[in-house]
């Protein structure tokens, strides 16, 4: 598709423009002849152009306050052994589903200041199935709608995916404050479903071996090392991971994130990245107890505490229609005295080293923007999921074969088959009894 056609199509979209700080909001059409066409959601989010998928759908940059986003709708059918505990996490019956519904509010504030907020609307927690002491309880958010004769409706909620403000002194020096997606790998920051080539992100990313987001400060910038090589750094200081990490830290230990990237433009585009994260997780309970003077005070009780270190490597090579991509991530978790969780009536969880990665190979043809692709995922943790099995090392493999098509710049169609196999002890009757098969289809769109 030509860029001019894409721009004309994009020009039909309506954005909101904020006229000054006092803000009378009005609709504004994008100018087809404006700045070069961005190539992914991440660019609008302020992420560097070459870090994004070069073949990702295009969007228009709007001045002032920009409102945009992405959504996806799909169909899935999973084949799992009867009675598998996986059925508490996944639905075995085929279903249609509205997946992500994320909106972005991006504001150019002038003088080098800008902000971004991303809100995901979700049906959760309705239908969530946590396992509690009394069994599996499906959460219901049923409420009587007072605008509709008190008829019962299920309510939803929102996720604040990110909310930050940043100041840009130069391309080499930017400081961001707020809640930001942890800079590692390829698909943690650039997480829009139209950009993700498979139907869902690889399991090892969703597992958050590095926290998906952090609240704190992020310093970043980029430099030319030569005409074809660009370097980028990102250094973060945050609350780290925690039960209420978005606005409180239950210890004085702050987490540090470091990421380095290299982009080479020559015979194709090559991106290489490495990231490290070091932090402490603490969960506390508070008890109200009388102190020695007979006055009530608060006593903190440690529920869980561990130090963790995570490392990630990523590489992507795009040349013409060819797309090769891989990530490897490792997390080490060492529990503190008194902060080790119970595994069973007589056991505690051991320290854990979890690691995994994935590889993706695809080729995008010009015709309908079709890309056949192949994925392979690997993940290995200590078994903490099923206390009925020993705490030995489990190995998960997942293979996917699919087609990704972009008939227009803003719409992505996906069809994928998956096969998951597990290498574990005592697999029979386990949640990880293999094979697990799945068929998924999705339409994702940017708006």
């Amino acid at each position: 598709m030509s860029r001019s056609r894409a721009s004309r199509r994009l020009a039909c979209r309506v954005g909101l423009s904020l006229l000054g700080w006092l803000g009378s909001v009005h609709a504004q059409s994008a100018d087809p002849g404006a700045s070069p066409e961005p190539t992914s959601l991440a660019e609008l989010e302020g992420e560097p152009l070459s870090l994004t998928d070069p073949s990702a759908p295009a969007l228009e940059t709007l001045g002032g306050l920009a409102l945009y986003g992405f959504a996806d709708f799909g169909f899935y059918k999973l084949f799992m052994p009867k009675g598998s505990l996986l059925r508490t996490q996944l639905f075995g019956d085929s279903a249609f589903a509205v997946g992500n519904l994320n909106t972005y509010l991006s504001g150019e504030l002038g003088g080098g200041w800008r902000s971004l907020m991303e809100i995901r609307f979700t049906y959760l927690p309705n239908g969530s199935r946590p396992i509690t002491a009394s069994g599996i309880e499906r959460v219901s958010t049923a409420a009587q709608d007072y605008t509709n004769s008190g008829r019962v409706r299920n309510t939803g909620s929102i996720f604040i995916e990110r909310a930050w403000i940043e100041y840009s002194a130069s391309a080499a020096l930017n400081l961001r404050g707020g809640s930001w997606l942890t800079p590692y790998g390829i698909w943690n920051e650039d997480h829009g479903s139209p950009t993700i080539i498979p139907v869902t992100r690889p399991y090892v990313i969703g597992l958050e071996l590095l926290p998906e987001r952090q609240t704190g400060l992020l310093l970043y910038g980029s430099f030319f090392a030569s005409e074809s090589v660009t370097l980028r750094y990102q250094v973060g200081l945050s609350n780290g991971r925690g039960p209420i990490q978005d606005y409180a830290d239950l210890d004085e230990n702050k987490a540090v994130t470091l990421r380095l990237q290299l982009h080479h433009h020559g015979a194709g585009d090559l991106d290489l990245g490495a990231a490290a994260y070091i932090g402490r997780y603490t969960d506390l309970d508070q008890l109200i107890r009388p102190n020695g003077n007979g006055v009530l005070g608060v006593e903190e009780q440690l529920l869980q505490r561990y130090d963790e270190a995570s490392y990630a490597l990523d590489a992507r090579y795009v040349r013409g229609g060819l797309h090769l991509q891989t990530e490897f991530i490792m997390n080490e978790k060492a529990y503190a005295d008194g902060g080790r969780p119970v595994r069973s009536a007589t056991q505690f969880q051991p320290d854990d080293r979890r690691y995994g990665g994935y590889g993706l190979a695809g080729y995008r043809f010009d015709w309908l923007g079709i890309m056949p692709y192949l994925t392979g995922e690997y993940f290995s943790p200590i078994n903490t999921f099923e206390p009925t099995r020993a705490a030995t090392r489990d190995v998960f493999w997942d293979f996917g074969l699919g087609i990704n098509s972009r008939p227009t710049t803003n719409v992505t169609l996906k069809l994928e088959g998956n096969l998951a196999v597990f290498d574990i002890e005592n697999a029979k009757g386990s949640a990880l009894e293999h094979p697990v098969l799945g068929v998924q289809a999705q339409v994702a769109w940017a708006f």
Partner: protein, 200 residues
């Protein structure tokens, strides 16, 4: 020149490149150092105070037991636990099953004597079939992997000997657990104590 990371004016960044070269080396060194430091010792994944068991999990040190999320010393109740202190069939006096020979429980709610334990209790198992036909029909495969007595909640919380009745709604039954594992009525999670409301 192509557009890279939003930087389009290459010449203006020549000086920045030289500075970045120095800073980049420092950051790379920091990353290399962090990669070399391993947080988890695979040979000792239980820290300094806990022991690694055969399952690869961590257990309390000798002389203590897990209770309410922490290791607590096992209290000596004054009964001589040594072999020979009370022989099988002797029906000797007791206050807890730890003072009884193997295969017997302390009938602490009634005679306060050691009595024969239910058949099958404590036998190793990996499935319910191995416990069938005994009085301990439930294979407790979560931690001990032994046959235990179930259904005590329906019997007014009555368990053999000094066993304690805990309700496990998550698995749809109630189990008789050793009193050592339920100090002060605190059943192993996620169990809930079922008060004994009837004499045997």
């Amino acid at each position: 020149m192509h557009r890279i990371w939003g930087v389009t004016r290459y010449d203006q960044h020549r000086e920045g490149i030289r500075r970045m070269d120095v800073e980049g080396r420092r950051l790379a060194l920091l990353l290399a150092i962090s990669l070399c430091g391993c947080l988890v010792d695979s040979g000792a994944p239980c820290g300094a105070h806990l022991r690694l068991d055969a399952d690869g999990a961590c257990v309390c040190p000798e002389g203590s037991a897990l209770s309410d999320g922490a290791c607590v010393p096992v209290v000596d109740d004054g009964v001589d636990d040594s072999a020979g202190a009370c022989e099988a069939g002797a029906g000797c006096a007791c206050t807890s099953s730890r003072g009884c020979p193997e295969g017997e429980l302390c009938d602490s709610h009634d005679s306060e004597r050691c009595v024969a334990a239910p058949s099958g209790l404590g036998a190793p198992c990996s499935g319910a079939a191995e416990c069938a036909g005994t009085e301990a029909t439930f294979c407790e495969s979560f931690s001990t992997r032994t046959c235990v007595v179930q259904g005590c909640a329906a019997r007014a919380g009555v368990c053999p000997g000094d066993l304690v009745c805990c309700d496990y709604a998550v698995i749809g039954t109630s189990l008789c657990v050793p009193s050592d594992l339920a100090p002060d009525g605190g059943c192993p999670a996620p169990g809930q104590l079922v008060m004994r409301t009837s004499s045997p």
